[in-house]
Amino acid sequence: MNHATTAAGSVRSLLLACLVLTLAACASTAPRHGMYWGNYETSLYRLADAPDDRVQQQHLSNLRQVVNVSDSRGWPPPPGAMLELAMLELQMGNYDAYALLVNREYHLYPESRMYIQRWFTDVMVTPVVTEESEPADESTEAVDQAEQSNGESQP
């Protein structure tokens, strides 16, 4: 009698262990978190299909949403999103937003730096001091200094 309950008990715990392992294994292949693109692709497609001002405006607001939602969730905005938004903000005449976004991308993604230096020259030639780069942690400061020694001018 006693024997039987122990056996059932050990089967149960084995079953439980299996369940836990299975669930854990499933969890590790679950969709990853931390990147938000919202409706970006939809308006990018429409811009390619039939560009007009309304569609470009839509793309601008989709990109703003990508950045805002990412920020509110504590995720980094996805690669390139802030640069693309920057370009559209510039076309709207929003120079401050433009400079801020280019700086954020520059500091967040080191891979973007050559691209920015080549194609967003107006921002990087006279480095803009933004709220984001002001509380400069040591790593970004080191980068800035490295760049200045590479021939970048200080304002």
Binding site: A25, R32, E41, L44, L83, M87, E111, R118
Partner: protein, 220 residues
């Protein structure tokens, strides 16, 4: 005794879930910097005039989700257009090093749209998309990964009234987006590329070597 079958199933599932899949071939991605990708305008081999531009818009998001730094699609497209480049075929003879010098890209994604077709036969129609992919190192010019795929979607009607069927098929086929098919193709393609540095499951070259060693030991 009733417990035995579910237990067995669970055990099998557990073992299957734990078995690590064959590692994607990283070797070439580990030999040189491979963090950022410049997506070139697709080369268009079809008669659909817009195929290149439309297909281009479906690439940046899945590639960034695979963990790579992807240069902004619209900005890159406009830079290229300013230089008069609309179709990837125009870049055929540009040395790969140019894409590092001008864009800072570690890799270039070259695609060719081989099919972008609609066929429409009275009450059934279909859409076909075919694409070839190549990821190329801008440092060595070496092809790091290549892939090709072609998919067909039927656009037949669910309507049982014949006239309705004819009209609906025509409408579906005209409105049928090629993009859902393109997305399927891209998803399947990029699943065969090792994770990039911004993916939570990215493996450094050292981690990859270790995993490969473990995998080979398990197999032997």
């Amino acid at each position: 005794m009733m417990l035995r079958t579910p237990l067995l199933i669970l055990l099998t599932l557990t073992v299957v879930a734990c078995a690590s899949p064959r590692p994607v071939d990283h070797a070439r991605f580990n030999e040189q910097p491979a963090r950022s990708v410049l997506i070139l305008p697709p080369a268009n081999q079809t008669t659909a005039a817009q195929a290149s531009e439309l297909y281009y818009t479906s690439l940046a998001v899945p590639l960034s989700q695979a963990g790579f730094y992807v240069f902004p699609a619209l900005v890159t497209q406009r830079i290229m257009q300013n230089e008069g480049i609309i179709d990837g075929a125009q870049l055929e003879h540009v040395p790969m090093s140019q894409f590092y010098e001008r864009f800072g890209a570690d890799m270039v994604l070259k695609t060719t749209v081989t099919q972008w077709d609609t066929s429409y036969v009275v009450i059934s129609g279909s859409v076909t998309v075919g694409v070839q992919f190549e990821l190329i190192s801008t440092r060595t010019g070496e092809v790091l990964w290549q892939h090709r795929d072609r998919r067909v979607a039927n656009t037949g009607s669910g309507n049982t009234n014949l006239l309705g069927m004819v009209l609906e098929t025509a409408l579906n086929t005209v409105q049928q987006d090629y993009i859902p098919l393109a997305r399927e193709i891209n998803q399947a393609a990029f699943a065969r590329v090792p994770y990039g540095p911004y993916h939570p499951r990215y493996q450094t070259p050292e981690q990859y070597q270790e995993r490969l060693r473990v995998w080979q030991e398990e197999r032997d």
